[in-house]
């Protein structure tokens, strides 16, 4: 995806938000690219949030579903509004990030106005919600790329992904990654085939231990009634798993087969920490 080849937009995020919200209205006060709906899910109040394409965005580098300036700060507003609304409630509503984000926005306006700060606001909001006791779930229905995923989904207590080739997690698109590491795209793909953290596919990603569960569906782009029931059931099980977990941090992600060095580093730090 670059300037010369044009970009395709994905409607998956909007489709899954529409299905899971059963036609509930979108909350007002957000740009068209940030859809927010409050629903009942598994007997519990939940706020669904998706970043979707807005071909009419005033910011031209964020018209294909990218997470940009408006999206980052608006995500923060949507999450903080839920935190504030539940401040005095014993049971905090779930926050479900529906992730279908091709990338962060790459542009001059974005850097000039501090897109890093916009995405920091979003990441901080999700992390704060998690620490405040909101069960936070990321549901990956399409691409979950780089800074966009860091801002929208990666702070979740649990990450669930549809088992579908269109679901990808990565740090950078192939063309840009090849250029930055001074390799050809072919070389990059060859390494990706043997180095699990470099791979673009979900099966390799699953070996890193970051996914709580993958979900088989019939149509990841246009969920069927069965798909909706399946995903709803898995979301309910994720909520129960979070409720049963005494910890509100991200330690449940550290157990992956291909993440042993992560564990070794933490063990060494802990053993040497006390003066």
């Amino acid at each position: 995806m670059n300037a010369s080849t044009g970009q395709q937009t994905s409607a998956r995020g909007a489709a899954w938000l529409a299905a899971l919200s059963h036609g509930a209205p979108r909350l007002p006060g957000y740009p068209p690219s940030v859809q927010v709906a409050d629903v009942e899910a598994a007997g519990r109040a939940a706020r669904l949030i998706a970043v979707v394409p807005d071909a009419a965005s005033p910011l031209p580098r964020a018209r294909h579903g990218e997470t940009g300036l408006l999206e980052g700060w608006s995500l923060a507003r949507a999450v903080h509004a839920a935190i504030d609304a539940d401040r005095d409630s014993q049971v905090k509503r779930a926050i479900i990030a529906i992730v279908d984000t091709p990338s962060q926005a790459y542009g001059r306006r974005e850097e000039a106005f501090g897109i890093h700060q916009a995405l920091a606001s979003a990441a901080a909001a999700y992390a704060t919600a998690r620490l405040a006791g909101h069960p936070v779930i990321a549901l990956l229905v399409g691409k979950a790329m780089s800074g966009a995923f860091l801002a929208h989904g990666y702070q979740a207590n649990r990450i669930l992904a549809l088992a579908d080739p269109g679901v990808q997690v990565h740090a950078m698109g192939k063309e840009a990654a090849a250029r930055i590491t001074l390799r050809s795209v072919e070389d990059l793909e060859a390494f990706a085939a043997t180095v699990p953290p470099m791979a673009y596919d979900l099966d390799n990603y699953a070996t890193l231990g970051l996914l709580w569960r993958t979900i088989a569906v019939q149509d990841a782009a246009a969920p069927t009634a069965d798909d909706l029931a399946t995903v709803t059931r898995h979301l309910a099980e994720a909520l129960a798993d979070i409720d049963a977990d005494p910890h509100r941090d991200l330690r449940s992600r550290l157990g992956g087969a291909n993440r042993s060095a992560t564990r070794a580093v933490r063990a060494r730090l802990a053993s040497q920490w006390q003066d």
Partner: protein, 296 residues
């Protein structure tokens, strides 16, 4: 700065990561954890023809700052562009988690992160990204108890997912040599074209993302000379500041006492002002200063 002062000062930018950490900690208190002799090297680089380094480009040092317990995490920009892979990322995330745990146990450990990084190490892509998410989580947790102070001294700057980490810090220190942005110039040019972002136009890039501009627009809190003693003094002041006190309000929000990452409403107002009038025109540094409120 006088000629004599220039001669007598010690550059901070020219120090390596380990020496930078040492320069910030009280004399004689530096103690490195998970160091180069602990056998923690990247398990992913060698098979891609890259020689690993014993510290994986990240130094974690415990010690004291003005007598208070502190941990300094310093990224070595000279190794793989300061990129974060599995091991280096886990060092920073793990240290932040232990510092937060200290605070829950009554030990007021504070933290300093020295950013010198392009972000995710692409040779370890998804494990770098995951570690950076955990670093974000660690900062947001720890900053509830103690300041987490970020420093971007230069010359690599701070990009990618780690620029988001910088945006989460309780306070951010920059020098004239610093750059701060989400996307590196070459990546933007690759993705958006040279008309959008000319990665070889250095004055253009420094004007938008350099330390002076980030300070002037409130996206950083302190602008410090390249002087190791001055840097230590500023960091010591900031790590001893009360938690949640705004250090350099980025947009004029006199009633706000929130961290910069909590001021989303104020930033959205500024972006609305921009898009309401002339989003067709690309912003220049002066426009951003006007919108965000220039420092005197």
């Amino acid at each position: 700065m006088t000629h004599a002062a220039l001669i007598s000062r010690e550059s901070f930018v020219e120090l390596g990561a380990r020496e930078r950490a040492r320069a910030l900690l009280d004399a004689g208190t530096f103690r490195e954890l998970a160091g180069p002799f602990d056998g923690l090297t990247s398990p992913w680089l060698e098979r891609q023809g890259v020689v690993p380094q014993g510290d994986d480009g990240v130094i974690v040092a415990k010690g004291r700052i003005d007598g208070q317990p502190a941990v300094v995490m310093a990224i070595e920009g000279a190794f793989q562009g300061g990129s974060l892979g599995e091991v280096g990322g886990a060092k920073i995330a793990g240290a932040l988690e232990l510092a937060a745990e200290d605070n829950r146990n009554g030990v007021p450990t504070r933290a300093v992160i020295l950013f010198e990084t392009g972000g995710v190490r692409l040779q370890e892509a998804n494990l770098g990204l995951a570690a950076i998410a955990e670093i974000h989580a660690g900062i947001v947790d720890l900053r509830r108890y103690q300041p987490v102070v970020g420093v971007i001294a230069g010359q690599v700057g701070c990009f990618g997912g780690m620029s988001i980490a910088a945006g989460l810090c309780s306070a951010l220190v920059v020098t004239r040599e610093a750059r701060l942005g989400l996307n590196g110039p070459a990546v933007i040019e690759q993705e958006a074209g040279i008309g959008e972002y000319d990665s070889r136009d250095r004055p253009f890039i420094w004007g938008l993302t350099g330390g002076e501009q980030r300070f002037a627009t409130g996206l950083a809190d302190r602008f410090v000379d390249d002087d190791a003693v001055a840097m230590r003094d500023v960091v010591a002041e900031l790590v001893n500041a009360p938690v949640n006190a705004p250090v350099n309000a980025p947009v004029h929000a006199p009633t706000s006492d929130a961290a910069r990452s909590e001021r989303y409403d104020a930033y959205l107002q500024r972006i609305d002002q921009y898009t309401a009038h002339d989003a067709i025109h690309q912003p220049d540094p002066a426009m951003v200063r006007r919108l965000y409120g220039a420092q005197p």
